[in-house]
């Protein structure tokens, strides 16, 4: 019994210690990010790394989601005699629900693991210490640039996912029942306002912050050689994905309240 209590206490302590360390890390990154000198060159490199190199992957994921939603929606809507609702169903489900979360999870897998492993490898080989020894703030050079790149690129990548999903969704529909793209877009966006789509797209900036922050935090606190690097990469993806999904719950409610 005492051992069970001890292990529960250990878990409890570990949980709060992790969040405490994350808080201190976030504060250090925030301070470093807002004070000069700014690391523009590294930021541009990271924008390319996070953005343009993730685009093919999110585009493919978007394309697949578009076809799946198209097939499922057409079948379900036909059963209820609501086939005319198909374009709007596809547009709203892609842009409001599937596009942001799929982009978040795909980027978390690619970028989160990449950042986590890269920084962890730098940590265990003393490269981060070497950066500090060169009088360069590693929170500014390594963490702030990566987190900012994730925040800026996620909404743009989401637009890419959405575009590919709508394109393939329309294409899958038109193979069965020809419909011009112009008609599809007109019917899909009928009655839509910016509030219908922009908050859902820009909320992915929060996903980007979560993905970048968790991956940098896990990477820069790594201990223990190759095993530690592997653990950091895995934790970056697992925790990043989990927090993205949890954030989605909060953000959906927030958007419904603020942008009714």
């Amino acid at each position: 019994m005492p051992s069970a209590v001890n292990s529960a206490a250990g878990l409890f302590n570990g949980f709060f210690e992790w969040f405490g360390s994350l808080g201190i890390f976030s504060w250090n990154v925030l301070k470093a990010a807002v004070t000069p000198p700014y690391e523009w060159r590294e930021l541009i490199r990271q924008l390319d790394e996070v953005g343009s190199k993730s685009l093919p992957l999110v585009a493919m994921a978007g394309a697949a989601i578009g076809v799946v939603i198209s097939l499922e929606a057409r079948y379900s809507l036909s059963r209820f005699g609501a086939k005319s609702m198909f374009p709007a169903t596809l547009v709203y489900s892609v842009i409001q629900v599937m596009g942001p979360i799929i982009t978040g999870l795909v980027v978390c897998g690619r970028v989160g693991a990449g950042i986590g492993a890269e920084l962890a490898s730098m940590e265990v080989t003393e490269q981060i210490d070497a950066i500090e020894a060169c009088a360069i703030n590693p929170y500014r050079l390594l963490a702030a640039t990566r987190i900012l790149a994730c925040i800026l690129m996620l909404p743009l990548l989401t637009l890419g996912t959405d575009a590919c999903a709508l394109l393939t969704g329309w294409f899958a529909q038109t193979l069965v029942e020809p419909l011009s793209f112009h008609q599809f877009i007109q019917a899909g966006f009928k009655g839509a306002t910016f509030n219908s789509f922009l908050p859902q797209t820009f909320k992915t900036g929060v996903y980007g912050m979560i993905i970048g922050l968790i991956a940098c935090f896990q990477g820069m606190r790594t201990r223990g050689g190759a095993e530690g690097v592997g653990r950091a990469a895995t934790n970056s993806v697992v925790l990043g994905s989990l927090f993205v999904i949890l954030a989605d719950v909060v953000l959906v409610k927030f958007i419904l309240v603020v942008f009714p």
Partner: protein
Amino acid sequence: MTTAYDIAMIQGQPEGDDSVPAIAVDNLHKSFGILKVLNGISLSVNRGQTLAVLGRSGTGKSVLLRLIIGIETPDSGSICIHGQDIAGLAIDQMGRIRKRIGFLFQHAALYDSLTIAENVAFPLEHHRRDMPKSERGDRVKQLLAEVGMEGDFKKLPSEISGGMQKRVGLARALALEPEILLLDEPTAGLDPISSGEIDDLILKLQREHQMASVVVTHDLHSARTIADRLTLLSEGEIVIEGTFDDLQHSNIGFVNEFLKQS
């Protein structure tokens, strides 16, 4: 509050006061959990002097260097760099002090995604932004030539030997013309010829640049060659400090044993 020292640092003026030790460590304590690593270490190094820190593995030699450059923080005691106590300095304030310190890591710690030339240029790109690119390139070439690595600019660190990596690490440590040089096991893992070359190189650089240096090493021969004074650590405490002759004539059992085994 901005001190005169801060202003001097910001303006990049040399300290110039030789009466103040470049490094002064007083009653330094450091533990990791229940493991006491340093237990009341005190030492000082003046400009142009080289101190070798010897001792068995795990006696806190590398931790001492990491404390001096501020990568680790002490539990108690003080570390003064050119008279400035570094305790409690924010990361950017510490950065101003670090610009005056060159650090060679035990495994060189080169940035593995950058070429050799980019590694050496790294501190210059961040701290000499006003320097024209061509001038920076010339400085990198000069630094690499100084350490005998003029022919391998475009190679990655993984494509060169351990000894060469240490040379490049040394060139990077010298890039900002430091007044203090900290060397962590500069000859560890090298064959005797490469060790001798690194020793000669360190001696040459010390003569040319008149830096205050602390060298952590297991290699007694290397310590004897490059250092003016030696200090021997055991269980986190200084057993003896003095010249090589002082160590040789010591009647402390641990000192005799260490010299006999080295």
